[in-house]
Amino acid sequence: MTRVLIVGAGPAGIRAAEVLAGAGLCPTVVDEGARAGGQIYRRPPLGFGRTPEKLYGSEAGKARALHGRFDWLVAQGKVWHLPETSVLALRDGVAHVLGETRRQIPYDRLILATGATDRLAPVPGWQNAGVYSLGAAQIALKAQGVALGRQIVLAGTGPLLTLLAMQLRAAGAGLVAVLDTAPMRDQLRGGLAMAAARPVVALRGVSMRARLGNLYHAGVTLERIEADPDHGVQALHWRNARGQSHRTACDMAALGWHLRAETHLADLAGAEFDWCPSARQWLVRCDDMGRAGKDLYLAGDGQRLLGADGAELAGRLAAIALLRDLGRPAPAAYGLLRRRARMQRFANAMARAFPWPAEAVAALPDDTVICRCEGVTAGTLRATLPASGPEANRAKALSRVGMGRCQGRYCQLAGAEIIAADQGLAVPRAGRLRAQPPARPAPIGAWLSTPPEREAE
């Protein structure tokens, strides 16, 4: 039987597994989570008591359906699930994975449903304790029932900014300000196109925003995070749309500018990349079905940033493409493709409504930390450029921006903006950081002490 490996058990990975299982293939699903669901539909540990309605609000039905479907597939032996397991490397049709033990999993076809992380723009002071990503604040609330601070400021832009604010308030967290860097002008223009593509979703966003009242500010410029080295964040300094300065006292600041596709494994699997001017990042070259290379398929936010509904469609489409490529009967794709196209129109409009703050990043002061892992500043990166030239991989080798333990996940987009602005180039001319294995830091001991376990073929 054809051995299919799926990486990621979020909405895309689950739907891909379901379609393949329905065709009689028994895919292996590797996922870093303890329980399947991904980030948006992340489940708390067993023994927690809140209902899906409490955790996922209007999306509770979708969450229930996905979780129930996947658990059933695993219980029936139609899918082999490896939870709490990271893929470290892909080579010659073998995935090197690390969970409780290290294993090698040979495969014939690979579906990558690796999702996305928050997209981060550095703000002076963001290296301090008490600064988190927006996604982190949502995960803490959903999966642990905790707030990451007592006086919380949310800053950045994108749909998660408003959604998270509502969720924190509903849970009783101390929310003191919601600072959106997107100017109201862009939000109105993009918002109309969002409403044209998905009216219900757009209306829900507008209504949530209205309920935030005067906590919410649009067109904000973030100046710096004031912090004490021992105690962490103390205040956020910002200017409103009219340029007036504010200092908001807080002990937690969560930042995020929509999403960054997680493409590390796709790069290791040999995918090609194109600069996407709309998402303003490098995305994997693939067809609408998710075909990205020989025996390689992508689905979900790691392919195109369409959100959870789009990820379910993309997961089904990738599995259908795989079945067709094997010459097997497959469900029809036409309806799914049409709905996916609508998701793409919505995503493009959203990118216009909630833009990445390119000018602010390019103009960051020299003493701003760009690489949180190793404390490398914008000034160090700029000082490197006369020697390295504008190519991001060379600038990384000399400045170490992108070389730290997160492997550039949180600094490389900002780094490219700084390089491009300094050298007077368009951002894609700075190039793309090449991914290196291991995709996650792994202890040397995993290689010394346990012999890799080769799966039966």
Binding site: E32, A34, Q39, P44, P45, L46, G47, F48, G49, R50, E84, S86, T117, D118, Q127, N128, A129, G130, V131, Y132, S133, G135, A136, I139, A140, L141, Q144, G145, V146, A147, L148, G149, R150, A171, G172, A173, G174, A227, P229, D230, H231, G232, D251, M252, E262, V369, R372, C373, E374, G375, V376, G404, R405, C406, R409, Y410, R440, P441, P443, G445
Partner: protein, 102 residues
């Protein structure tokens, strides 16, 4: 200023789990991650290696590696994605390894 960083908002009816951090006996709840349990008693997880500041995690999804914590027997953990287990003996730095904590 000495208040712990996190606040429990829900799911408080779980069994207590005892562990230690830097020799101090602490208590979390069954189902807490190591990060949750520590930051309900402390302001931070560890010190940065490349700057003066304390660190308390950042992405909580295993991508940023900001939340590293050590065990007394030497192993390193990602605090955001490691479930707390009774009797864990944790350290906020790597201890007496050459160059560590200097």
């Amino acid at each position: 200023m000495s208040q712990p960083r996190l606040v429990r908002l829900a799911e408080t009816a779980r069994s207590p789990v005892r562990f230690s951090l830097d020799g101090e006996e602490l208590t979390g709840l069954e189902g807490d991650t190591v990060l949750t349990a520590i930051l309900l008693s402390r302001r931070a997880l560890r010190r940065a290696e490349f700057g003066p500041e304390a660190r308390a995690g950042f992405c909580l999804m295993g991508a940023c590696q900001d939340c590293w914590i050590w065990q007394e027997e030497g192993g390193r953990l990602r605090a955001c994605s490691t479930p707390l287990r009774a009797g864990m003996r944790l350290r906020s730095d790597a201890g007496d390894w050459p160059g560590a904590g200097a």
